[in-house]
């Protein structure tokens, strides 16, 4: 069962993904989402605003360092913990 943060992040990704695609879970590879790499970066910027965190990476690194949806969740969770 996905926690609230995972559910929220998947919902944000879904809004950008091709409709009618496969179900998105924490294990879904980012390359399988059919989302343009810049768009994924924009999703990360949205998360920064929503959670009041700062993700230190430029747009290239954002794509290069994250492999699946769970990686995004983990990165955001760690930054939220650091802030608290």
């Amino acid at each position: 069962m996905a926690d609230a943060l995972t559910t929220d992040i998947i919902a944000k990704i879904k809004a950008h993904a091709e409709p009618g695609g496969e179900e998105i879970t924490a294990a879904t590879e980012l390359t399988a989402l059919g989302i343009h790499s810049l768009e994924l970066t924009e999703i990360i910027f949205d998360l920064e605003e929503d959670y009041g965190i700062e993700i230190e990476m430029n747009t290239v690194d954002a794509w290069a360092n994250l492999k699946n949806v769970g990686d995004i969740v983990a990165a955001v969770r760690a930054l939220i913990a650091k802030k608290a």
């Binding site: 989302i35 343009h36 924009e42």
Partner: protein, 402 residues
């Protein structure tokens, strides 16, 4: 002997239809697609008249591709795909490094500008959309067409306001003539039906309140439209060698600048561009059967264009069929010359001169045979297509049958 450049595919999308044959059906029957703009949010604008693509066709371009495209790029890619399909060329058939794209753009990707300044200035968002830069840039449609069709040869955008498409097509012709490419996708695109663009045009007081009536004494100005037109241009030898159906030939191109005023046209500029085009094509004025006029429907343009045409064609002008198809597809800025290419190529193929729609009253200062309201059947061996622009940047193309 220079390379001959032929047309082996046409594609188009505008208010008249979402493919080139639907557009030609509208043009040859004299149907104007100008009307109230209902699918774009124009906010507090006074002028609500335009020529819009009411519904996008089912283009099948995946989301990860469309997300990076402004509307003018999407229109260009839809038209380019159609032209490519008609040409019979498929990716891998020819050397992709010998295939390129030149796309004329009069403005830029204004949809993204509009969305962003509204979000930032009115809605208080604190960052711009991440695709804003690649969406807005005037070179985007050419890049998107090359990505979509896998073209790895000469690829760039061309801009000269209302004559952009003719300059783009001529520039693509040059790539083939110079031996840099065998196949070029060429045309133009623009999507100007947004608040910011129309607000600026409104300030110029050149927009017609009802419709576009080129050469009619009661004309009140131009109407803006959106669209794209694209052609597959190919060296004659390349097209022949693969047994392609040849739709027409680009016989010549002619350029000039007014070097006078940023908005007011001269007679000499357009005159010299037409003369240069005829010279490049090795044609005499009497060889031309049909002239697709720039014909914007403004008082000044139509009167000055009439004078320039009479200077070039002399006593033969009485035998020259003229029309402004902007009366039907409106002025689509960077796409205009490309849509008018669809008119010229088909006029030659079918022997039908598309009319000037919405015409009501003769104007002694516009006394050309402008084919009022009703199409005319006549043999068209050669068609000329005029494009003039703010900035005084003139470009004329000559088409002929093969």
């Amino acid at each position: 002997m220079r390379n001959r450049v032929v047309i082996t595919g046409l594609g188009g999308i505008c208010g008249l239809g979402t493919n080139a044959s639907a557009i030609w059906d509208g043009l040859r029957s004299g149907r104007s697609a100008i009307g109230e703009v209902t699918t774009h949010d124009l906010h507090n604008l006074k002028v609500k008249v335009g020529c819009e693509v009411k519904e996008m066709p089912d283009h099948g371009i995946p989301h990860r591709q469309t997300v990076s495209m402004d509307r003018f790029s999407l229109l260009a890619v839809i038209a380019a795909r159609e032209a490519m399909r008609q040409s019979g060329l498929v990716e891998g058939d020819a050397d992709s490094y010998r295939m390129g794209a030149v796309v004329g753009v009069g403005i830029c990707g204004w949809e993204a500008i509009e969305e962003n300044y509204r979000a930032l200035l009115l809605e208080g968002k604190n960052r711009a959309g991440i695709f804003t830069v690649p969406k807005v840039m005037p070179g985007a449609p050419a890049g998107q067409v090359s990505m979509d069709l896998g073209l790895r040869g000469p690829t760039f955008g061309v801009t000269s306001a209302c004559s952009s498409a003719n300059h783009a097509i001529a520039s693509a012709v040059d790539q083939i003539r110079l031996g840099r490419a065998d196949v070029m996708l060429a045309g133009g695109t623009d999507a100007p039906l947004s608040w910011g663009v129309l607000k600026a045009w409104e300030a110029l007081r050149v927009l017609a309140p009802d419709t576009c009536r080129p050469f009619s004494a009661d004309r009140q100005g131009l109407v803006l439209g959106e669209g794209a037109g694209m052609a597959v241009l190919e060296s004659f030898d390349h097209a022949k060698a693969r047994g392609a159906e040849i739709l027409g030939e680009i016989a010549g191109v002619g350029f000039s600048a007014d070097a006078s005023d940023i908005v007011a046209p001269t007679v000499e500029g357009p005159e010299n561009a037409m003369r240069a085009c005829l010279a490049d094509a090795g044609l005499n004025p009497e060889d031309v059967d049909y002239l697709n006029a720039h014909g914007t429907g403004t008082k000044a343009n139509d009167m000055i264009e009439t004078k320039a045409v009479k200077r070039v064609f002399g006593s033969y002008v009485k035998d020259l069929s003229v029309s402004s198809t902007k009366s039907m597809h409106a002025h689509c800025l960077g796409a205009s010359g490309a849509l008018e290419m669809i008119a010229c190529v088909n006029a030659i193929r079918e022997g039908i001169v598309p009319p000037t729609a919405n015409y009501r009253e003769p104007d002694p200062e516009c006394d050309l045979d402008i084919t009022p309201n009703t199409p005319r059947e006549r043999q068209v061996k050669v068609a000329l297509s005029n494009a003039f622009a703010f900035g005084g940047t003139n470009a004329v193309l000559a088409f002929k049958g093969v």
